[in-house]
C-alpha cells in the first residue's frame, strides 16, 4: 500500500513520542509523572492507529486506555501511601536492562528479516460497520460471548476481593 507523505510524517512523530514517553514511564522516579507519560504513550498509539486507517480502534484506544485505565491507575496511585518517595531502586535494574536490550535486538532482527504477509486490499473507508460485521459473524461471536462472561467473572472477582476486612 502506498503511504502518503503526511501519513509518514504523522507516523514518525507518533512513534517517537510513544517510545520516548514509554521509556519515561520506566525511567522516571516520580510515579505520578510516570503515569502521565503512560497516558501520552497511549495517545500516540491511538495516533498510530489513525495513520493505519483504524479510526474506530483509535477512538476506543483513547476511550479505554487514556480515558479509563490510566485514570484508574492514577486513582490507585493517589490512594497509595508514601507515594512521594517514588519508585524504590531495584537491584535487578542492570540485568533487567540487559534482558530488555537482548529482547529488543532479537525482535528487531526478527522483524527485519521476516517476509510479512502484506494485505493488498485498499484500506476501508469506514471501519466501524466492517468491524461489527466481523465481530458478530459466526466466526467471532463465540469470542465475543466469552469476552462478556470474562468481564462478568472479573467483576465478580473484583466484588469478592473488595469486600470489607471483617467478612
Amino acid at each position: 500500500m502506498h503511504v502518503g507523505t503526511g501519513a509518514s510524517i504523522a507516523f514518525w512523530i507518533m512513534a517517537v513520542v510513544a517510545v520516548v514517553s514509554a521509556s519515561g514511564v520506566i525511567l522516571l522516579k516520580d510515579i505520578f509523572r510516570a503515569a502521565l507519560l503512560l497516558v501520552v504513550s497511549f495517545l500516540s498509539i491511538a495516533g498510530i492507529f489513525v495513520t493505519l486507517n483504524a479510526d474506530f480502534i483509535a477512538a476506543v484506544q483513547v476511550l479505554i486506555y487514556a480515558g479509563a485505565i490510566s485514570i484508574l491507575l492514577i486513582f490507585a496511585i493517589l490512594l497509595t501511601r508514601d507515594v512521594q518517595e517514588g519508585n524504590p531502586s531495584n537491584r535487578l535494574k542492570i540485568p533487567g536492562m540487559f534482558m530488555g536490550a537482548v529482547l529488543l535486538t532479537a525482535l528487531i532482527v526478527v522483524f527485519v528479516n521476516t517476509e510479512w504477509r502484506l494485505s493488498t486490499e485498499a484500506p476501508l473507508d469506514s471501519t466501524t460497520a466492517a468491524l461489527a460485521d466481523l465481530l458478530f459473524s459466526n466466526k467471532f461471536v463465540l469470542a465475543f460471548e466469552i469476552a462478556s462472561v470474562l468481564l462478568l467473572a472479573a467483576m465478580i472477582g473484583a466484588v469478592v476481593l473488595a469486600r470489607g476486612e471483617d467478612e
Partner: protein, 483 residues
Amino acid sequence: MPLRDLYLLSPEISIVGVAFIIIMLDLWIERKGLLPILTIVLLGLPLGFTISLWGTEEQAFDGVLVVDTFSIFFKVLLIGVVTAVVIASQETAARFRRFQGEYYGLLLMATAGLMLMAATRELITIYLSLELSTLSAIALVAFFKDTRSTESGLKYLVLSGVSSAIMLYGMAMVLGVTGTSSLVEIAKAAPVSSLADNPALLLGVVFIVAGFGFKIASFPFQMWVPDVYQGAPTPVTAYLSVASKAAGFAVLLRVFYLAFGDFSSDWSMLFGVLAVISMSLGNFAAIFQTDIKRLLAYSTIAHAGYILIGLAAVASRVPGGEAFGPQGVLFYLTAYAFTNLGAFFVVIAIANKIGSETIDDFAGMSKRSPLLAGLLALCLVSLIGVPPAVGFWAKLYLFNAAVQADMVWLAIAGAINTAISAFYYLRVIKVMYLSPAPTEERVRLTPPIGLAVAMTTTGVLFFGIAPWFLLDFAIRATSGFPG
C-alpha cells in the same frame, strides 16, 4: 447461528448458567451448606450434555468450536475435577460468612474457560478462554484476603499478565506471517516448510509456548507456582495444579498438532529441552521443601516436565496408526488428576484438623490416622510412579512414547528424575510412618472431604490395577487427532 451450534456449545453454556444460578441462589439461601450440594447436583447438567455429545465429530461457529472425542475427553475430565474440588471445598468455603456462592461460581466459570480452551481452534477465542479461566482463578487464589493469599493473588495476576502479553505478542506475529488466526488456516497459510526459515513465525511459536507454559507451570514460567500454591486456599491449589494444567496441555496439543503440525521436527526439540529443564528444576527444588504445599507445587513443575515428553514425542506417530505421544499425555493428565487431587485432598483433611501444612507436623500420622496416612502414601507412590498405582502406567506410556520417537535421552532423563523425585516423596512417607507422633490425638475424616478423598484414591487404585479402561478412552480421544 443455528441451534445446532448452541447444542454443541451446551456444556459450556450450562456450566456458566449453573455458575449464575449458584451466585443468585446465594442471595436467598440461608443455609449455605446447601450451595455445594446444589452445585454438584446442577453440575450433572453440563456433564450430561458433554456425555450426550460423546462420539460426535462436528464443528460449530465456522469451525472455531470443535466437538470431538478429544475435547469431550477433556471436558469430562475438567467437570470431574471441579466436582471433586467443590466437594473438597466445603470446609474451606464455610469459613466465609458471605460470598460462598461467588466462590463456587468462580470455580465454575474458570472451568468453563478451561473447557473452551480444550475445544476451540481459533487463537483469539483460545486467548479469551484462557483469560476467563485465569481471571476467575486469580480471584479464587486471593479469596482469603489474608497476607499470604493476597500476595499469591497479586503474583498470579502480575505474572499471568506478563505471560498473556508475551503469548499475545506471539499470536500477533503468527497472525502477521499467516494472515489468519484460525489454527486450520494457519497450517495452510504458513509460507515455509521449516520454522527456521521464517524468524517471526519461530519467535511467535516460542512466545506462544511461553504463554501456555504459564498455564501448565513449566519452565520458563514456573516461578509463580510455589508462592501461589502455598498462599491460595488449598482446594484452589488442587484445582489449579490439575485443571489448568490439563486444559493447558489440551490447547498446546491442539495448537501445535493442528497449526504447526508441519514443523513438528522443529518444536519437538523445543519441548524436549523444556521437559528436561522443568522436571530437573522441579525435582531438585522440591527436595529442600518443608511445606507440603510447596513440595507439591514443585512436584507439579516436575510433572509438567514429564508430560511435555509426550508433546516432544510427536515422531512416535506411526503413519495412520496410533499417536503414542498425545495418548500418553491424556493418560498422564487423567492419572495425575486423580493422584494429585487425592494428595491435596488428604492434605486438606489433615491440615484442617492439625492446622499446619508443614511436613514435620505430619509426623506419626500413621498412628493418628492410619487411613489418611495410607491414602497419602498411595498418592505419593503414584506420583513417583510405582506399580500398584496409576502413576506407574502413566510414566510408562510417556517414556515408551519417547523411545518410539527415537528420543531415548528424554526417557533416560525422565527415569533419572523419577529416581530423584522418589527421594522427597518417600521422605514424606518416612515422616508419617517412622517419626514419633507429637500427640496421640486422632485425626478424623469428615464426610464431604472423605467423599472427595475416596473418589480420587479409588481412581488411583482402580486405574492402577486396570489401566486399560483409561487407556481405551485416551486412544479413542486421540484417534481423530489432530481434529
